[in-house]
């Protein structure tokens, strides 16, 4: 893909309160990015972007509130490159249902938790997306459904007509788990988003 080898090395934070943060870290290291685990507000400094991993969104919310991390995380995600997968996508959305819960509200989208069913309904699909390079494998685990997106949101992939990979300015969100596949295109797309912002002098 197009990540240039002479670019300065990026540091990406991974929210490491709970979930599959280690899988994201492994992918990032593999594509040549420095990783910083984030569990406290002060650890949000010195990173070029942040990943909110898969896990349990309710657990994330409790820990964010208790550790005084909710507001710092919200203000980071409102302006800096942030990528959420599954529970991370739920956290980024403006509206969450099934049940209703708080969220960072930085992505103009409505997300319904566990909308495809329980674990027994989890599945791996391979389908075309807007990313170049052919069909993409997508691992859905107790996945949420994006039921609605705002006009500013770019839809990069869909499943049965519902968006599953979306971007709004500095925010990227997937209802599936690219960190559990071998295909690195979604993570590389996120790196590109960071690079573009750097090039436009808007870090």
């Amino acid at each position: 893909m197009s990540s240039s080898s002479n670019a300065p090395q990026l540091t990406i934070g991974v929210l490491a309160l709970q979930g599959d943060y280690a899988s994201h870290a492994r992918v990032l290291e593999e594509i040549g990015v420095r990783v910083k685990m984030v569990r406290k507000a002060q650890e949000l400094t010195g990173i070029d972007g942040l990943i909110i991993p898969g896990g349990e969104s309710t657990t994330f919310l409790k820990l964010l509130a208790r550790e005084g991390l909710f507001e710092p995380l919200r203000s980071f995600a409102a302006s800096r490159p942030t990528f959420g997968t599954c529970a991370g996508c739920i956290l980024l959305a403006k509206h969450v249902s099934g049940p209703e819960q708080e969220s960072l509200g930085v992505l103009d989208a409505s997300v319904e938790r566990n909308a495809y069913g329980r674990q027994i309904d989890s599945e791996i699909l391979t389908d075309e997306t807007r990313l170049p390079g052919g069909p993409l494998e997508m691992v859905f685990i107790r996945a949420p459904r994006i039921s609605q997106v705002g006009a500013e949101v770019e839809v990069l992939a869909t499943r049965d007509g519902s968006p599953i990979l979306v971007r709004e300015k500095n925010v990227l969100a997937a209802t599936f788990h690219p960190e559990l596949s071998e295909d690195r295109r979604v993570h590389r797309y996120f790196l590109q988003m960071i690079q573009e912002r750097r090039d436009s002098g808007n870090s």
């Binding site: 709970q18 896990g55 791996i124």
Partner: protein, 309 residues
């Protein structure tokens, strides 16, 4: 849909099963016996709940044959929870496992806490779409369960005691067994497979990576925030807390507020397991712990961990 899908119990199936286990990492899975406790657990930040008729401490105290929980109970807990729900079947009782899969529970624990249904065979877990977690005391036992299709391993410890000593023992044993494999020569690995009574392919996989091919959690006697941090530092990727949250002793439940405070403190300690400052705060928040039973004072016949092979 134009895309290709695969959710069977083949290679993709195992990836989906292990995938859910990955999502639970760094979290606390709590035993609950009704909808009210399930709500407390979720509110405290549990990543999943284990739906039970009786927690291990009660099973131990009351005796009798312990079986899969009643369907009504499991359904009640499932409808009260937005997080994954696990339930236990007896060792080897594949019909109970079929029932649990039919109900749609997210994970099945083939558990030594219940009275075993088969003295020789564990459930063929490859035959199910629902992922399984199984207990182990050493690497060989862990790999035998993985060979049968388990998507997550937990230490057995000694459930229902509130005494962490055997969770520590089993975790240290598994970690030590794995470390030894990483420095062995090819021919030594064949002998190690024989010694551990485990498939050579899995032994070789562990020798290469230094870890289990599925997530490695800890269970059995964890009762305080410091207990959770201890097993996390020893290498457990998440913790199960059974009787330690909702019981004050083997017969009576702790008041709801106390259970909630305990649950919250254990969640915090599990996330910040390597940060003594947060750990001290979590320990201070946590009022009381179950009275417990010292494992050293138990006679062999009342041990749950020796069930299964």
């Amino acid at each position: 849909m134009s895309g290709h899908k695969n959710n069977g119990s083949g290679g993709h199936g195992l990836r989906l099963k292990v995938g859910l286990a990955e999502m639970l990492k760094g979290g606390v899975i709590m035993d609950v016996t009704d909808a009210k406790q399930a709500e407390i657990a979720e509110k405290a930040g549990a990543v999943a709940v284990m739906a039970l008729e009786r927690v291990p401490a009660q099973i131990r105290a009351e005796g009798g044959v312990a079986r899969m929980a009643s369907i009504k109970k499991i359904k009640e807990i499932m409808s009260a929870s937005s997080i994954p729900v696990m339930a236990k079947c007896r060792i080897g009782h594949f019909a109970e496992a079929q029932v649990l899969q039919e109900l749609g529970v997210d994970f099945i624990d083939e558990s030594e806490v219940l009275t075993p249904a088969d003295e020789l065979h564990h459930v063929d877990k490859h035959a199910f779409k629902t992922p399984f977690v199984c207990g182990a005391r050493d690497l060989g036992e862990a790999l035998r369960r993985i060979a049968e299709g388990a998507a997550m391993i937990r230490t057995k410890g000694e459930a229902g005691t509130g005494d962490v000593v055997h969770a520590v023992k089993h975790l240290r044993q598994i970690v030590k067994d794995m470390r030894q494999l990483t420095v062995m020569s090819e021919e030594e690995l064949y002998a190690a497979a024989k010694e551990h009574r485990a498939p050579y392919e899995l032994i070789r996989m562990v020798a290469k990576s230094g870890k289990l091919p599925v997530p490695n959690f800890s269970a059995g006697g964890i009762a305080t925030p410091a207990d959770a941090a201890l097993v996390r530092q020893l290498g457990a990727e998440a913790v199960f807390v059974g009787s330690g949250i909702f019981m004050s002793d083997s017969h009576s439940f702790a008041p709801a507020e106390e259970a909630e405070v305990r649950a919250r403190a254990i969640v915090r300690a599990t996330t910040f397991f390597d940060d003594p400052k947060v750990l001290a705060e979590a320990s201070e928040e946590c009022t009381g712990a179950m009275k417990g039973l010292a494992v050293a004072a138990l006679d062999a016949s009342s041990m749950m961990q020796t069930r299964g092979w």
